[in-house]
């Protein structure tokens, strides 16, 4: 089975854009190791020829592909921590 180390937690935290404190890294590594050890029980089940179930809804319901009025731009931007000129603003990443 997979063993969760502090390095595993660091790697996954980077993937998930999470900054963790040293205490969190240690605690999460220990707790996730315990949780995954418990979850090991499903490895013993025979799942040959079993289809994975991603959803309880069997018939996919699609709505009509018709344009309709949605949120006005200023309403969509109203909750942003930083917006200007009708756009969301983030720290500069390109150009220069």
């Amino acid at each position: 089975m997979a063993r969760v180390t502090v390095e595993t937690v660091d790697h996954v935290a980077r993937l998930a854009h999470l900054s963790l404190t040293p205490e969190e890294r240690e605690t999460f590594a220990r707790q996730l190791d315990e949780i995954l050890a418990y979850a090991e029980s499903i490895q013993a089940l025979d799942t040959r020829d079993v289809e994975p179930m991603s959803h309880a809804v069997t018939s996919e319901v699609l709505r009509d592909d018709a344009p309709a009025p949605e949120l006005p731009r200023e309403r969509a931007l109203a909750a942003a921590p930083d917006a200007a000129d009708g756009l969301f603003r983030v720290p500069r990443v390109i150009g220069g």
């Binding site: 790697h11 979850a39 983030v90 720290p91």
Partner: protein, 511 residues
């Protein structure tokens, strides 16, 4: 409890509809009750008093103008803070949504209001609905009205506590792994998790999209059925909402337990249930048998794997859903949030270095925002979910869990070939003391053993009070086949017709 806050949702709708009492009087009585009781309970994150009185007046004006009485005329409801209401703050129990006021209203809330219900406010919850005790709220604990040193359950703990303590006649919760049924059980009220797809999730902040479902909490099955009749139905704004007819719920509610085949998964219950809870459970199914039901032994051989399966599937979906909280479009932004000055254009050889430094600045903004905005349980689940989806582990964990999910659903399909509903205790443990289980997340997860299978299978479940163990409420869970809420409600109402556990009220104690 003053007379008006003691009324059931059904009775309020009848009296307001008959103009025997005004929706405004009902709203003010419940707001007074909140003012007197809330300090000792902590059920609400936001009380929208002015808005409530305004909406109540509109209901009264409509009736005065001769409009037909709507099914929830004047019924005061509390809304779990995971559902959006236009211009009312939504926090999801999290600091990361600090200051967010959504520009739209959830369909479930809009349906209640269109049916005459009056929203009192938003209720406390575990952050992003991740938890079974409401202790993961970033803001405050909610106390169990029956024992204030104990948790109300979760994640819809605020909604259950508000209804139990008479601050609201009914409430909305959301249930991803038991978050309506378990707090309903721990607070001695009724909670219904409908079939996946039954209630629109438009305006519900997503936790685990293949599992989440919105549902009602109230003090009787009759009240829950009344709310279900309003909430259920297709919504073009939710692609997972089912186009299936909704029965007229009050009809058939009185059909009784006669001829009902109730499956009991005895071997699954050996997993370890508190003795007092087991005694109350046995007594409850005996009551149903005396009322004419037949008890059938059923097997759910894969249900023992439900917790492992659930905590892989749910965290994987959560890690994806919660990626949207990045400090760009709403809520909190931490760290170097500036947009960067223009300055002199740098030399070519400088650009690569600056570009990388700027990427780092953006990544730091994401990381700092999410670090400051999310609490420990949310981070733990994002990390677990990201791990089970990551290269090298996807097949062994996520894909395998999805296959076990199929096995769990098949168990139910086979069981429902020999019975109409399945009965279990809702929670294997009684309400626990604050802090008692927070240090060990796995122990907290294991207490969801009887509720998570229904979410994995997509079937409906209801929890209703079936007595007390050591002075603390015990919940009876009844599960049904897909879209067969009518039979659950019939069974639950038959039980409440011959018992009075649902009429018990927590001791009055002013804060």
């Amino acid at each position: 409890m003053s007379a008006l806050t003691d009324l059931s949702a059904t009775e309020i709708a009848r009296r307001v509809g008959a103009r025997d009492v005004s929706a405004e009087e009902i709203a003010r009585a419940h707001l007074d009750r909140i003012a007197a009781t809330e300090d000792g309970i902590g059920a609400f994150l936001h009380v929208a008093a002015e808005r409530a009185v305004e909406k109540a007046k509109q209901v009264d004006a409509g009736l005065a103008a001769g409009a037909a009485a709507p099914p929830l005329a004047g019924v005061p409801v509390a809304i779990k803070d995971v559902l959006d209401i236009e211009d009312v703050p939504t926090t999801c129990g999290s600091r990361i949504l600090d200051g967010y006021r959504p520009p739209f209203t959830a369909t479930a809330v809009a349906r209640l209001e269109a049916a005459g219900a009056v929203v009192l406010g938003k209720t406390n919850m575990d952050e992003f609905a991740m938890g079974s005790s409401t202790e993961n709220s970033a803001f405050k604990p909610t106390r169990n009205p029956w024992a204030r040193d104990r948790v109300p359950g979760g994640s819809s703990g605020g909604s259950a506590a508000a209804v139990a303590s008479g601050m609201a006649a009914a409430a909305l919760g959301s249930d991803t792994g038991g978050s309506i049924r378990q707090p309903a059980a721990l607070c001695g009220v009724v909670g219904l998790k409908p079939t996946y797809g039954r209630v629109s999730r438009y305006g519900l902040v997503a936790f685990a999209s293949s599992l989440d479902q919105v549902g009602p909490i109230a003090r009787s099955v009759e009240d829950v059925a009344r709310l279900a009749g309003v909430l259920f139905g297709w919504d073009p704004r939710d692609a997972t909402s089912a186009r299936i007819d909704v029965p007229d719920f009050p009809t058939g509610l009185d059909a009784g337990a006669g001829g009902l085949r109730i499956g009991v998964p005895w071997s699954f219950l050996e997993a370890g249930v508190d003795e007092g809870i087991m005694t109350a459970f046995r007594a409850a199914i005996d009551v149903l048998r005396s009322a004419g039901a037949e008890l059938v032994d059923v097997a759910l051989p894969h249900a023992a794997h439900a917790i492992a399966t659930y905590y892989i599937v749910a965290t994987a979906e959560a890690s994806s859903n919660l990626a949207r909280f990045d400090g760009v479009r709403y809520g909190l932004r931490a760290g170097h949030g500036g947009s960067g000055g223009a300055g002199e254009p740098p030399q070519l050889h400088e650009r690569a270095r600056i570009h990388s430094a700027r990427e780092d600045a953006l990544n730091h903004m994401y990381g700092d925002t999410r670090d400051r905005g999310f609490g420990a349980e949310v981070k733990r689940r994002i990390i677990l979910g990201t791990f089970v989806l990551s290269a090298g582990y996807y097949d062994a964990y996520y894909l395998r869990a999805q296959k076990v999910r199929t096995l769990i659903r098949r168990d139910f399909e086979q069981a429902f070939a020999t019975c109409d509903v399945i009965a279990t205790p809702t929670s294997p443990i009684p309400p626990f003391r604050f802090g008692e289980r927070t240090a060990d997340p796995l122990q907290m997860y294991l207490a969801d053993i009887f509720t998570v299978p229904a979410n994995l299978a997509g079937i409906p479940g209801i929890s209703l009070p079936c007595g007390f163990a050591g002075g603390l409420p015990v919940g009876l869970q009844i599960l049904g086949g897909p879209f067969d809420e009518a039979t659950l409600l019939r069974a639950g109402h038959a039980y409440q017709a011959v018992t009075d556990h649902h009429l018990a009220r927590p001791p009055l104690k002013r804060a």
